[in-house]
Symmetry: C2
Subunit: 196 residues, 2 copies
């Protein structure tokens, strides 16, 4: 257990809209950075399609996930790419900026207009002003720790050979893990995998 795993995070659906295309991903990196004006930052992996949409449009919604969020929501938004699938179908909830958000399992939604970005390598930090915000429920916000303890399915006893991502639980099957392997779910590298 490394010191870095002691940091505390929430979990969020980060959504954007480019033309008619809605998309969203799961992030754990949202903060209030100033109160006057009210500004929020999110740190997003460049490999995420949502990253490119925010870079282009300069707007996003942050749906704050509650402890009621089932694992399927994390799978749906976090474990497949909007390049391959349409993550929003049928009736979609939208804020005034036209961007989709997640009702039901979120306890709040915040709309942000980006005014600064910082390139930090594999990720970009987006900072922007809050343009709209709504409280949606009284259910406590889910923390990363709560997700691990209560939401993420426990690994079954298994005889499979492979490596599991310590970050998100993705399993790579095989005898050896390539050194340059990148987790297709959370984009962490081979250094964050351990043998099953």
């Amino acid at each position: 257990m490394s010191a870095i795993f002691k940091l505390t995070y929430g979990l969020f659906v980060l959504s954007a809209k480019d033309g008619e295309k809605d998309n969203a991903c799961i992030i754990n990196t949202a903060l209030q950075v100033t109160s006057n004006p009210l500004q929020v930052s999110v740190t997003v992996n460049k490999a995420n399609f949502t990253h490119d949409m925010i870079m282009k449009t300069g707007e996003f919604n942050l749906s704050i996930l509650s402890q009621d969020t089932p694992f399927e929501v994390f799978q749906h938004f976090g474990m497949q790419s909007g390049r391959d699938v349409n993550k929003f179908e049928g009736d979609v909830l939208r804020t005034d900026n036209g961007i989709a958000y997640i009702g039901g399992v979120s306890n709040a939604v915040i709309s942000v207009k980006v005014n600064k970005t910082l390139d930090v390598g594999t990720h970009t930090i987006f900072v922007g002003e809050v343009t709209e915000e709504h409280v949606l429920s009284d259910v406590p916000s889910v923390t990363y720790q709560y997700y691990f303890d209560h939401i993420k399915p426990k690994p079954e006893a298994t005889k499979k050979k492979g490596f599991v991502c310590k970050i998100c639980g993705y399993v790579y099957e095989g005898d050896t893990l390539p050194e340059d392997f990148i987790c297709p779910i959370c984009k962490h590298g081979a250094e964050d995998f351990e043998p099953l």
Copy 2:
């Protein structure tokens, strides 16, 4: 209750050293931003003395506070300025970079060398590489919510006239709160105060 209060935070002692001067403040804004290389960001109010020391020296330590942290630690590091008092006296624990850190109530310490900064108005975001890290205990990290529920003293029934800071609990005594009032503890503005 605004949507922005649904965001999840940890609580940390952020320390720096400028020459022989040690100092530290309390922050709630530390994140891992990339894993390769391992980088951390902190967002710090420009009014904090520690902010200026990090801006000058480019280095800091992040002591990750555990649920065992008593209110006095938050008072000591968070509710007075290093411009006025010496927050480190006697034997001080230090990492290899020479910067002080908090043992005992912290469950981990992380040393960071800053490589990028972003000015976001009242605050600066510092991003840097982790140069050293140690796990110090198995006690769970304290969250902002845990602090409010279990550590921060509950307000006494009182007949005082005044305004309380919804962020940190600071009480301004008086009939009216100046519009431009800034909380001396957490630096939030009058908009975050409510009548007692």
